[in-house]
């Protein structure tokens, strides 16, 4: 399993610059928002957590179609699913590798992008923290989506449509935890714990669903 993790990380790092496209897309989304909102600093910093979350969400969806497509094209997927390891575990490791390469850089870039959006220090901390907890859930749900679409032509679009509605809870709890951190009256711990729960829950369900999909959509 460690072999799969290091292989997937190396592949996406050096052959196709997976993390860079996600980051650049994130940057592009973040940079157009201030223009759309206009010269209102207070409004910008109010909206900043939401903008960062939506940017990170869209950037995470960007590379999902590559999660299985390349393995399928070169025949590796057949060999991966034949082995003794529980297929759900293989899927979990692939999702984890995907998050480490595409999701984690987004989290690390959040402080810089937060400054661009006039976000306070505490706001930056809260946004980066909730993204750190929440983006793995996007990767795990996305793995199931990618498994559904792997045998379909132009599956990338379908993955986004399938995955976006499912990640709404992640978005809701992420944003409410940030609000809790910034406002006196709103609760912080409860939404954060819910966000952790969603991530843990999807870390089991997502790979499991992906494994079932791959077993039954053979070609």
């Amino acid at each position: 399993m460690l072999a799969l993790l290091s292989r997937d990380i190396r592949l996406s790092l050096h052959s196709n610059g997976g993390s860079l496209t996600g980051l650049l897309f994130f940057l592009a989304v973040i940079s157009v928002f201030p223009f759309a909102i206009g010269p209102d600093n207070a409004l910008l910093s109010t909206l900043a957590p939401a903008i960062l979350w939506i940017g990170a969400l869209l950037a995470s969806l960007l590379d999902l179609d590559r999660l299985f497509a390349q393995d399928r094209e070169d025949g590796s997927l057949d060999i991966l699913v034949m082995q003794t390891h529980p297929l759900a575990l293989t899927m979990f490791v692939k999702a984890l590798a995907h998050w480490l390469v595409t999701g984690l850089p987004l989290v690390l870039a959040t402080p810089v992008f937060g400054i661009m959006l006039n976000l306070s220090f505490q706001g930056i901390l809260a946004t980066a923290g909730t993204l750190l907890v929440g983006t793995p859930a996007i990767a795990f749900i996305g793995t199931a989506g990618a498994a559904v679409a792997v045998r379909l032509p132009r599956g990338g679009m379908l993955i986004s449509v399938l995955v976006l509605p499912l990640v709404i809870p992640v978005l809701i709890f992420g944003i409410s935890a940030i609000r809790g951190a910034l406002e006196e009256t709103a609760p912080f711990t409860a939404p954060l714990l819910f966000l952790c729960a969603v991530t843990l829950f999807t870390s089991v369900l997502g790979p499991l669903a992906a494994a079932i999909m791959l077993r039954h959509s053979a070609d």
């Binding site: 072999a3 592949l11 070169d74 590796s76 034949m82 003794t84 390891h85 039954h216």
Partner: protein
């Protein structure tokens, strides 16, 4: 060890492609499947490898006493399909090393396996530098780095030149002599004595 395929039927989109195949292979025996293009050879092989759900029938693997092996049959199989299952960005060595570590039951070391297919000198080259025939030979080396009692091969020698084909038949012969079971779709004479033939009609 005995591989039993009983009344195997496979469908694609509700249409039966392969129906009612049955055979038994003991250790050291080989089955060669021939037939026209589109007659369902690949489909049958993928069904045996557990990559396609069977519409009916069964594929079983049992030891000498008739006790079935634990777990699904696919876990005891090597499958070599049309694609080589190698990453073009990684080196030949890293590709084989990955499969050796991931598949478990390591057999030959990567260098030894490459030596068997005469490609040791390419170990540090990226996989995509290789010619089509060399790529196929690396894919054949994958069968050697981990130990599996059943080999399922789909046109294993496509793209190979005559000397490489001879090397390949030597390898499968050694595999059969060591007690392995071989199922292959090929028009080649593998030189294994206990070879059965199955001809698919289109």
């Amino acid at each position: 060890m005995k591989l039993t395929v009983d009344n195997m039927t496979l469908e694609r989109g509700g249409e039966p492609i392969v129906s009612g195949i049955g055979f038994e292979l003991a250790a050291g025996e080989a089955l060669v499947i021939t037939g026209e293009n589109g007659s369902g050879k690949s489909t049958a092989l993928r069904g045996m490898a557990g990559l396609l759900p069977l519409a009916s029938g069964s594929v079983k693997l049992a030891d000498e006493t008739g006790k079935p092996f634990e777990g699904p049959v696919r876990e005891y199989c090597h499958y070599l399909g049309h694609q080589n299952a190698m990453k073009s960005g990684l080196t030949v060595h890293d590709n084989l090393d990955f499969w050796r570590r991931f598949n478990g039951h390591p057999h030959l070391a990567v260098e030894e396996a490459l030596e068997e297919v005469d490609l040791l000198h390419t170990a540090d080259l990226p996989f995509h530098y290789l010619s089509a025939g060399q790529k196929r030979r690396v894919a054949i080396a994958r069968l050697l780095v981990s130990d599996r009692p059943v080999w399922i091969l789909d046109e294993p020698t496509s793209g190979l030149d005559a000397p490489s084909v001879a090397t390949f038949t030597g390898l499968v012969k050694a595999f059969a002599e060591s007690g392995g079971i071989l199922v292959a779709a090929t028009h080649l004479d593998l030189g294994i004595n206990a070879t059965r033939r199955l001809e698919f009609a289109a």
